[in-house]
Symmetry: C2
Subunit: 258 residues, 2 copies
């Protein structure tokens, strides 16, 4: 056994088959539990996985972040290869590295980027049903972008947050919201320092309502002011949401830096 | 009951869960059987589905063609909506129409376009595992295109055909083969008047070998001349293959034209 070290993983997954990221007493079918089981299979240790973002059931990620402590002799940067031999095909550790012992992904200054992907075609496309939200009505992308700009900056996002949220404050800062066409998809991209429960899916549902002509971009201001979930649009379904990436604004110090 | 008519369907499907298109005695899990069951559910009739292309297990389609005869009073163009209410989410009839009574999708002059999609990234991407072939080695797209051009035209494609093929002739005409980058995907697009068993997957496997530096583009000429399956490259896996579309060169005459 080596000295205890903390290892960070960058995790890509297809959320279709899982009850979300976070460990739950009622089910063993979460990304967190799959990662813990894979580490156990590799090192024999029972580790606690600390995740950066607790994505919902059906939500996907290219770069969610997890850390855990291990006394294994496996070098930090080799964990990705070793874990990928054990993990199922719908979870892939794209990168791993040793980090300093107190590194906690939820206690760092970060920027997170989510994408909400809308398949804007008349008929559904079966091969994309788990990775897009099929929305057949025509969308006014310019109006959606006008509305998106009004969400940028620091706001109280109570209206854009699931009523079951237990966050002490609903103030968050969104750095950028953009709406772009990419082939037959409309992609709503949101970057910010933190997100509330269902926040990106409610932003997507609200922008889609405005895009199809129900309401005007300027309505966003009143929605924010009301601080009431019923003021904003519906929660868009989980399968269109991708957690794209985490940026650590102060970098990720190596263990030698501490 | 109305007079018997022939209805054509344009069918999009996710082939992941199926044992291919064609009816098989040993399994009920084929696209053809799902379509026949859906028509039965709608009209009570036991119909024979005539398919244009018998795609393999795991292969996807945006536009495969099926026809069947029915005495139902449902107008031809309404079948798509009615069938989509019965079909599972991984099969979608994107268009339906009445055609003349002798119309047979395999006895027409057609152009078929297939795409083979390669995910050319270092690490696999879980959300795309069923819809791309992950190939992590760098690819020389220019060399692949040089090789592709040598496959165009009329050739005996015995070297590019599964040895179990029962086709009487292995001569086919390929109108175009192109290799393009699209983001992190390399897309091999093949258009021709007809394809042999596994032909597009063997073309893809061969172009990938040349792209990674095993062999030269000019090798294609010798491969074709040998008329021996072992002369060409491996058969690329099913999940990267999409049947994109059928073009009927003489059009699709309406029933009133006959």
């Amino acid at each position: 056994m080596a000295e205890k070290k903390r290892v960070m993983l960058v995790v890509s997954y297809d959320g279709t088959a899982y009850n979300g990221w976070a460990f739950q007493k009622s089910t063993h079918n979460t990304i967190e539990e799959m990662l813990a089981r894979a580490v156990h299979g590799l090192t024999g240790e029972d580790v606690e996985i600390i995740g950066a973002s607790r994505t919902d059931a059906g939500v996907h990620a290219y770069g969610n972040i997890a850390v855990f402590d291990t006394c294994s002799t496996i070098p930090g940067d080799r964990f990705s290869y070793a874990l990928n031999h054990i993990l199922p095909e719908d979870i892939c550790v794209v990168e791993s590295r040793e980090v300093y012992k107190d590194f906690h992904p939820r206690h760092c200054d970060t920027l997170k980027t989510y994408e909400y992907r809308v398949l804007n075609t008349k008929m559904p496309v079966p091969t994309r049903r788990f990775y897009t939200y099929h929305f057949s009505m025509p969308l006014d992308i310019e109006k959606m972008n006008e509305a998106a700009k009004l969400l940028e900056g620091e706001h109280d996002f109570t209206s854009f947050c699931n009523v079951e949220s237990q966050a002490l404050s609903h103030v968050r800062t969104i750095k950028e919201v953009s709406v772009k066409c990419h082939g037959d998809e409309v992609i709503i991209s949101v970057t910010g320092n933190g997100f509330l429960y269902n926040m990106v899916r409610i932003i997507a549902g609200t922008l889609l309502q405005i895009g199809r002509g129900k309401g005007e971009p300027s309505d966003i201001t009143a929605m924010l002011e009301k601080k009431d979930r019923s003021a904003a649009g519906p929660t868009a379904p989980a399968q269109g949401l991708f957690l794209i990436k985490y940026e650590f604004l102060d970098g990720i110090p190596d263990p030698s830096d501490t």
